[in-house]
Amino acid sequence: MINKILDTGAPPFGPHLLSVSGLSPEVLTGILDTAESFLEVGHQTVKKVPVLRGKTLVNLFYESSTRTRSSFEIAAKRLSADVINVSPTQSSVTKGESLLDTVRTIEALGADGLVIRHPSSGAPAFVADRLRCHVINGGDGCHEHPTQALLDLFTIRKRMGRIEGLKIAIVGDILHSRVARSNIMTLSRMGAHVRLVAPPTLIPPGIRTWPVEVYHRLDEGIRECDVVMALRLQLERAAGGYIPSVSEYARLYGINADLLDRLAPGALVLHPGPVNRGVEISGEEGFAERSAILSQVEFGVSVRMAVLYLLMGGGSEEASPDKGGKE
């Protein structure tokens, strides 16, 4: 009976999604299963479900973004929520308003959820401590990008059928990559063997304590891997200073069809986007059927629907303050 399901099926998830670090394999699986149901919504005659009707989600992006912001926007709209996009260049941020004042203003306007992307690591956590609405980390500095890690997990499970036991190589600018940090946690927790492949300068210090194997040569690193995840060289975070030249980096760490055929013929190729064509990946047409880059974007909507539903679908009235409820 339904009331029994509601009592026992309540996940230990929320009220915010700031990091993937607290998510158990059970919760991760629950999120992926929920995302699977939301894939179906795209096949309905009415491609909307009423679960977030009357709720408002605000996208506050201090860094540029195409896919994450529009993905959250589409996800929220399919759940019948109202969405407002705030971009600092067109807001009072340019007049010198602080982050805290900006988010308090947004909350006072009636936001139930806030997706925040910020160049400073920890900004979403800072905000979440001071607001009562649900805060979702849309990428903070070099720290974490939880929804990207969840959608990568979903894409791998969908395309490969499982996660446990897979060999997954993450190639490129690990040092600056919030995507890599979140992915290492979720993938290893779900039982995958994670390898990092990067020049020594782009491997973060303290790597020895992470559940990964480190390779500095691409051919060794991706040999017999099931999944190859290329990362963007983050030139805006001065990644250029850590390598001799972009063209040398492309030659030593670029993924191409020839390399994949030789070393990991069945491997699925992921990239969080946007791709620097000819740097991290070249000749994608040569391995189009193994590239999951557009699947990642498509599945991202379902995964974000799952996250929004699980965080914001519940009540606000009776929620205790520590649950992030309003009033």
């Binding site: 009976m1 339904i2 009331n3 029994k4 399901i5 509601l6 099926g9 309540a10 996940p11 230990p12 998830f13 929320g14 629950g30 999120i31 299963d33 929920t34 699977e36 149901s37 939301f38 179906e40 309905q44 005659t45 009415v46 909307k48 479900v49 009423p50 679960v51 009357g54 709720k55 799952a306 539903y309 699980l310 679908g313 519940g314 009540g315 606000s316 009235e317 009776e318 929620a319 205790s320 649950k323 409820g325």
Partner: protein, 195 residues
């Protein structure tokens, strides 16, 4: 599904229907469904998760054994259409995957649930189906109708009418081998459950 036998405060559940009776009831219902629809043509069984899923498949098996024709069977998780999600504090459940093997358009949908109580779940299931397409009609079959409706909804096929008090709990277990319908009186704290 499994009745909670342990808590010392709650009296042990009473068995209202046992396996042979459930079996006879389901056979009768399957015959009624076939009679009213003049056979299995265009029939499409849709179980409401969690309780209606097994029941829909049991009815399908009976229809196959009577008519030799297998109607499609789906299952829907109506959580997203519930009207009490945002009224309750705290977290919402993970979703189970709804599964509709073929489009519902033009089909005679038989919604199947184990217990009919307030009618709110059925309302949610109908809204779900209508967002999915345009069935030619929607019917409702339930194993137990326990009364206390809050919406103008009634079942077309009822296994058993069981008058209950509002704070009692009806539990249906259809796991093969341990089939039974139980009635549990709620704990003295008496928090009324919503659905």
């Amino acid at each position: 599904m499994i009745p909670d036998m342990s808590p010392p405060t709650a009296p042990s559940p009473r068995i209202l229907l046992d396996a042979p009776r459930i079996d006879r009831i389901l056979r009768r219902m399957a015959h009624e469904i076939l009679e009213k629809n003049q056979g299995p043509k265009d029939l499409y069984l849709v179980g409401v998760l969690e309780g209606g899923d097994l029941l829909a498949r049991r009815l399908k098996d009976l229809i196959v054994s009577f008519e030799g024709v297998e109607p499609p069977v789906g299952a829907v998780d109506v959580t997203l259409y519930r009207d009490d999600l945002s009224g309750r504090g705290g977290p919402v459940p993970f979703l189970r995957q709804s599964h509709l093997p073929i489009p519902v358009d033009g089909r005679k949908i038989l919604l199947v649930d184990d217990v009919l109580f307030t009618g709110r779940t059925v309302r949610a299931a109908m809204d779900f189906l209508i967002d999915f397409g345009r069935p030619s009609r929607i019917m409702l079959a339930v194993l137990v109708d326990r009364g206390h409706r809050e919406l103008p909804i009634r079942a077309d096929f009822v296994g058993k009418n069981l008058p209950t008090a509002r704070d009692e709990k009806v539990e249906v277990d259809l796991t093969p081998g341990t089939e039974a319908v139980y009635l549990t009186r709620s704990e003295p704290s008496g928090v009324p459950h919503d659905q």
